[in-house]
């Protein structure tokens, strides 16, 4: 296992950024674990929606997971739906409100495990929606079990000795599957484990929203995020573990469109 170091406590500047509310954020309080990557991804999402001036057009559809807490914290319309079904629900929303910027926010458990059919068909139909998958390789909310995106060798509560392909099969590279489909306009994979990746991920999200809103087709951004709790790691070791394992299995960058 490759584990990075945190480099000490956050700098004053970093703390200032973290403490300032993003646009469209109603509160800084959340009940996610320290070191969780999801709040960083939430923030990027809200910044992008605000910068593209989509706040009075955005309708978010979320599934079930730790990330679902955004529904209470963000000042945009949200519909919470059944585990995995968000792309189907978002399709219904978008078809009757074509003027809206409709997006889903889902975890890898939600999307890669339970909702793979929904996302692939929405992509194949070329629905003008943006799907964002927060991939931490575990079911965070239920306490760290193996998902379809857990990487080979990953220890989870249901793969205690590490994910073993012979027993558990291989992780599903959802972004690559989606990118292979014709109705899809844009696919990228980013991460939130360091400042450089965060900046790039924001650009990917921005492009993904633009593409869908302009009617070019389906767009998809996978975001690798940290779950130190589900990874059985000290908080500070999350970013390094992400880089050493997840990025190897799921390489970062734009996969389709520019």
């Amino acid at each position: 296992m490759s584990v990075g170091t945190s480099g000490g406590p956050p700098s004053a500047a970093a703390r200032k950024v973290a403490e300032a509310l993003a646009p469209l954020q109603l509160s800084g309080e959340h009940h996610l674990c320290p070191g969780c990557g999801h709040p960083v991804a939430w923030r990027l999402l809200l910044e992008v929606i605000s910068e593209l001036e989509l706040s009075t057009k955005a309708i978010g559809v979320v599934g079930h997971g730790c990330y679902t807490n955004i529904v209470s914290l963000a000042d945009i319309d949200f519909l919470q739906c059944l585990h995995g079904r968000a792309p189907a629900v978002a399709t219904g929303v978008k078809r009757v409100r074509p003027e809206a910027a409709v997006f889903t926010l889902q975890g890898d458990g939600d999307l890669a495990s339970e909702g793979l059919a929904e996302v692939l068909h929405a992509a194949a139909r070329g629905e003008r929606i943006t799907v964002i998958m927060l991939n931490n390789g575990v079911f965070g909310d239920t306490g760290g079990q193996m998902t379809a995106a857990s990487v080979v060798g990953q220890r989870t509560k249901t793969s205690l000795d590490g994910r073993e392909p012979e027993d558990h099969g291989y992780p599903v590279p959802v972004a690559d599957l989606v990118a292979a489909l014709p109705g899809v306009a844009y696919v990228a994979r980013g991460a939130v484990n360091n400042a450089g990746s965060i900046a790039k991920t924001k650009r990917y999200m921005k492009r993904a929203f633009q593409v869908a809103v302009e009617g070019e087709g389906f767009s998809f951004v996978e975001v690798l995020t940290m779950c130190p709790t589900g990874w059985f790691l000290p908080t500070a070791d999350g970013p390094g573990y992400l880089e050493g394992t997840f990025e190897k299995t799921f390489p970062l960058g734009a996969l389709k469109g520019s």
Binding site: T56, V71, D75, L82, R85, A88, V93, V96, R97
Partner: protein, 359 residues
């Protein structure tokens, strides 16, 4: 518009569109398929959307999305397909998203499925069962109204006789009275104003406007379904006033039973017929009243005995409640044939009330 000869499914499709339905999604399964095809044909001209979804799970969730965004929306299937939809029907009941589900069933074995659901949580679904195409057209429009009135998913329990029968019907928009505004529907326009909206089964609210939370939210929904149970019972009874035997049946089986009752009445036999039009809420008090003079209640349904549970609850053990239907072995695969005939039902009733009942 003058009445026209229409296939049942097509009449239902036209009634749905007349009621303002602008989103429909489905996955083929006979006899529901005809409705899906009719919708696919008619929706574009009405400015609506019809989705040939990749599964029933997708179809119902698309419909939930369209309903949450404020559109009048519908989906449908039958039997196994409705089973797949139950997770979203329950979810919609709990997060209060209205839409209509058309169960164009293969028979009467979906009674439990339609009235008891199979999803999670303390919810009920209004379920109406038409006896013929004319009534299916009326109920289609009423169901869209009830869905919006109560912010809930509702079910029409039709079947292949409704779906495939040609009947001369008149499809005109019907006015059912005022409805509350759909100010809860998500349109995305309030983001950043502090008044953005949320539809969430747990009703946790926004940080600046905490919602009721699950306990109060679910209690309110439970109370709502109690109100619905009182207000929306519908039924029809036929010569029950002095009946010694009342025969209870629902949906397209009921006209066969009515025919038998008419024939036995003219033979001087004191029988009556009762039909719950709303399967949930079940018209318990009306059935109990209709059976006031009865010494026996017979239940005819084309299944192994499902509605009979509701009949027994309504009768409360006062008189015997006897099943006279059964699972049909009809080879059409629709499970409606063999026993759904007037002579078959008449023989069963005669056998049970005894020749002594004939004056």
């Amino acid at each position: 518009m003058p009445a026209r000869l229409l296939q049942g499914s097509d009449a239902v499709a036209q009634a749905a569109i007349a009621a303002g339905c602008r989103f429909f999604a489905g996955y083929p399964m006979l006899p529901f398929t005809d409705l899906l095809e009719s919708m696919a044909k008619r929706m574009p001209a009405a400015g609506g959307v019809c989705m040939n979804a990749e599964s029933e799970i997708e179809a119902v969730n698309m419909t939930l999305g369209a309903g949450a965004a404020g559109s009048r929306a519908a989906t449908g299937s039958c039997g196994q397909g409705i089973a797949l939809m139950q997770e979203a029907i329950a979810e919609a009941a709990l997060n209060e998203v209205p839409f209509v589900v058309f169960n164009m069933a293969r028979g009467q074995q979906d009674y439990f499925q339609c009235t008891r659901g199979g999803g999670w949580g303390d919810y009920r679904t209004i379920c109406l069962a038409p006896k013929d195409v004319t009534e299916a057209v009326e109920q289609t429009q009423l169901l869209f109204h009830l869905a919006d009135l109560y912010r809930a998913p509702v079910i029409m329990y039709g079947d292949y006789l409704i779906s495939h029968t040609y009947m001369s019907v008149d499809v005109e928009p019907v006015e059912f009275g005022p409805l509350p505004p759909k100010d809860w529907a998500l349109d995305g326009t309030r983001g950043g104003t502090g008044r953005s909206r949320q539809i969430w089964t747990w009703a946790m609210g926004k940080a600046n406007d905490p919602g009721p939370g699950p306990d109060l939210h679910w209690q309110r929904i439970a109370d709502k379904f109690e109100d619905v149970a009182r207000a929306e019972q519908r039924w029809e009874s036929f010569s029950c006033e002095d009946a010694d035997t009342v025969i209870v049946s629902f949906g397209t089986a009921a006209p066969f039973v009515e025919q038998v009752v008419g024939e036995l009445r003219s033979d001087g036999c004191p029988v009556g017929a009762f039909r719950p039009v709303s399967l949930w809420p079940f018209p318990e008090a009306a059935l109990s009243d209709a059976c006031a003079s009865a010494s026996k209640v017979l239940v005819f349904e084309v299944n192994a005995g499902q509605m009979i549970d509701d009949v027994r609850l309504a009768i409360g053990g006062r008189v015997p409640v006897v099943p006279i239907g059964r699972v049909s072995i009809d080879f059409s695969g629709m499970r409606q044939g063999e026993i759904l005939t007037v002579p078959w039902i008449r023989d069963r009733v005669r056998g049970l009330i005894g020749e002594g009942a004939l004056r």
